[in-house]
Symmetry: C2
Subunit: 221 residues, 2 copies
């Protein structure tokens, strides 16, 4: 960071202000959810007039799109960092939960209720498969059949399906069993996590941490 290089003071200031706008945007989203995001409200909170923000973002939609991108990026970095530090699947799972609890609305911006008309920018699919790639790296060593002769051969219809469509993991060359493991890891943890973040377990009097840890312990099969 702080490469400075060709960065003029004006560019630095621009980047700084863009960053502050995003920060305030995240605060607003945390306080009222993404649909309540308002450029005018952000401007007011920053002590400037509404139209001023249009120097930094072409429209409200562009700002939201950027926030979504940043959310994906942040999650990918978190997962990759955990994987790089030698964490196993369970470790990645804990990193995921920590990241989600850190800002629930950021999690929901990625995995929450979709807005019927809107669809995420194309380039986030690349980041999404980067995330799945990190999961696959961690799923592989412990993969059920990773070191058996048949490692590359699917033994269930689902594994066959997954092996045929590998775009979601940027054509990662993991054995089918690992593909299945990684995907199941993701869907199961998302199940508990999204219910936790929405407060459903609290309403039921249950401890989400215990449910989550228990699910982590049963990832192998």
């Amino acid at each position: 960071m702080t490469v400075a290089g060709k960065e003029t003071p004006r560019e630095r200031y621009r980047a700084q202000l863009r960053a502050e706008i995003k920060e305030r945007a995240w605060e607003q989203i945390a306080a009222a959810g993404a649909p309540g995001l308002s450029l005018n409200a952000i401007a007011k909170q920053m002590g400037m007039s509404g139209p001023a923000l249009y120097r930094y973002f072409a429209s409200r939609d562009e700002l939201i799109t950027e926030l979504i991108r940043d959310a994906y990026r942040s999650l990918a970095d978190t997962v990759s960092a955990a994987a790089a530090s030698g964490a196993d699947l369970a470790g990645l799972g804990r990193a995921l939960r920590t990241w989600a609890l850190d800002d629930p609305q950021r999690y929901f911006l990625i995995y929450g209720t979709p807005v019927p008309g809107y669809s995420a920018p194309d380039d986030v699919t690349a980041i999404a498969s980067e995330i799945m790639g990190a999961l696959l790296d961690a799923a592989q060593p412990a993969g059920t059949a990773a070191d058996t002769p048949d490692a590359g051969h699917p033994d269930t219809p689902l594994e066959a399906h997954l092996a045929e469509h590998r775009q979601w993991a940027a054509d990662h060359p993991a054995p089918p069993a690992a593909l299945r493991r990684a995907l199941r890891f993701w869907t199961r943890l998302h199940g508990i996590l999204s219910l936790e973040l929405a407060g459903h377990f609290t309403g039921m009097g249950l401890d989400p941490a215990q449910l989550y840890e228990n699910e982590l312990r049963h990832l192998t099969p």
Copy 2:
């Protein structure tokens, strides 16, 4: 239905119009998501003026609250009906998916991104535990230790936790293993389902139905 009884024509008309307002509300939610729900827009679509709706709902919030209640009720009825017709856990799972696919935004109104300030009305927790009760009924016969002498004794910390806090299932007297099974059933299927409804699998080129069926097949452990 059609009990008529003491129902005056005026009451009948009122009930009918209330129902039509709700129908239009669901259409709007399906088209633009819950945050885009507007009383004025509903009125316009029904060919009447905005203020007219205030004869039927005290406020926008009251309408939404009612829709949430109806969504819970509809899901509870669906699950109960499946259970009553002798479906096993997998059968309930398929009923759940059918119900969700029938109106994704209705599913998200219950299980989707929470609005930071808002909390669901108190009485829906009763319906929520009715749902869990139906799951437990179906989870019990096939419960791992349902007919062993130790049926009532938890054999994991999680089962102990679940057995101590049974409010979420209206104090249903199921053995701990069944509690764990039912809860896991719910969180895992919700994981796949919510990702499917949000379109994440489509973006990945995967077939949600196969993932779902595969997960259903692995519910026993």
